[in-house]
Amino acid sequence: MKLAEALEVATRTDPGRVRSHNEDAVFGSAEQGLVILADGMGGYNAGEVASGMATTLLASNFGRLLKQVGHCQPLAVDADTGKRVSHRHIEEEVASANSAIYNTAQSQPQYAGMGTTLVMAWFYENQVTVAHIGDSRLYRLRDGDFRVITRDHSLLQEQLDSGMITAEEARHSQNKNLVTRALGVDPVVEPEIHDYEVEPGDIYLLCSDGLNDMVDDEEIGLTVQTLAANLELAADQLIQMANDNGGRDNVSVILVKVRGDFAVPRGWWQKLLAWLK
């Protein structure tokens, strides 16, 4: 199955109920198997500049990369680094977006200090490579099991990990807005990158903290599961729930439903079959 048929993608972004600006940015393309979400930070409109630059740069650079058919084999292992080729591409593109945002922030005083979180998922050959920086998340629903896949780069997560604070206390923390990694705030940044097998029927949710700070994980999971048949409606419903609960932050969601297998045909026989289809 081609990616465009195998994946269904719904994207939404909303300023919420309190903020006048939307500093979140989203990109989604089933055809390319690529989804990107960024939650910007920085005074005035600098946050939206940072998140906008991140999604636009990554989407266009990956778009170019993915067009080089045959040259881009994300699953292959890179001889130099011993890592998957997909990791090298993500590292390079994230580094280039990081430099672009950092340099803009350095050269233009009105953008000084801007930065953005990032979560992106790249689907290829029944695999997904997930990269993230900061506290924007990726969740997965598989066979009724809904769980967060990424681990926030935040002060709160570090406090949770070290046992300083319990999950219940964390819900009441006023340090929710502190991220320990961001794109564009330093000359270099290290994205966290992991690979996962994809199964038909999986639903992936990428979101900014405007969703998971306003709506419990359990409620988010139930909504995705209940409305799995209508992804657009599920995306609308998630935004609405964040806003109904106060909508104190910008809220963005990207839903990706895996309808079928999207392995690349390997042998001549499979290639012929694929071609005949």
């Binding site: 903020r19 946050g47 340090n175 929710k176 807005n177 330093d186 139930l222 409606l233 109904d244």
Partner: protein
């Protein structure tokens, strides 16, 4: 910034701003908050503040430290918590809504390395850059919005005619998966029905709905996949 209001038997004695990372409380004069009373230990308790959160720690005091009536050794402080040391009370105030520095907060900033030194762990913070996004306030999530009044649907025909289904969940789906499904969303200001899947759309009071959400009124009649049902508010 968070503060403490020190009082004894209802009489306010002092207001203390938690401006330092570590504020100590005790009977001896070197404490940041000195309470000269024999029920208070020399070094009784300490409050460690990390950015916008504060943690209370009893330093092995003789008479102990209570928070909201419960003895604690270490406690994550929440707005309006009452700390008791002997006859003295310290009320913890940390309300983002009334914080004087809120406008600055909204403007968002990046904190550079070394800006935060969390107590104990984690130690590897020195090389970490901290970015601050405009906070979305820290009030507890969920259950915040006023709930809509209780409502239910009753099936009017079919094998289960007369059966009642209470709409207690945020989302209740109706119909047959793969054939025709609609969902009723319970929102703070009422109930809404929306088409989810299937070629046929739900019928509301004899009218076929479109893809948009429609508010439900008392005694509305819904038809989904050939089954009629009545929506009503429970009183």
């Amino acid at each position: 910034m968070a503060k403490l209001i020190l009082s004894m038997e209802g009489l306010v004695l002092k207001e203390i701003t938690l401006g330092k990372e570590r504020v100590t409380i005790g009977r001896k004069p070197h404490n940041d908050i000195q309470i000269d009373n024999l029920a208070i230990s020399g070094e009784h308790a300490a409050i460690v503040t990390i950015l916008n959160d504060s943690f209370l720690e009893d330093l092995g005091s003789t008479n102990g430290t209570l928070v909201n009536g419960e003895p604690v050794t270490k406690h994550f402080l929440r707005n309006n918590d009452v700390i008791e040391l002997g006859k003295y009370r310290l009320k913890y105030i940390n309300d983002p809504a009334i914080a004087g520095d809120a406008p600055d907060f909204e403007k968002t900033m990046i904190l550079r390395p070394g800006a935060v030194r969390p107590m104990e762990a984690p130690k590897d913070h020195s090389n970490t850059s901290l970015g601050m996004k405009a906070p979305a306030s820290a009030a507890p999530v969920a259950g915040q919005a006023p709930a809509a009044p209780a409502a239910a649907i009753q099936l009017l025909n079919g094998a289960n005619a007369g059966k009642e289904l209470e709409l207690t969940k945020t989302l209740t789906t109706l119909g047959k998966p793969g054939v025709q499904v609609a969902v009723i969303a319970r929102r703070p200001h009422g109930y809404f029905i929306t088409h989810v899947e299937g070629a046929q759309f739900p019928v509301l009071n004899g009218k076929v709905l479109d893809t948009q959400a429609h508010p439900l009124s008392d005694h509305d009649v819904i038809e989904i996949a050939g089954v009629k049902m009545e929506f009503f508010f429970k009183t």
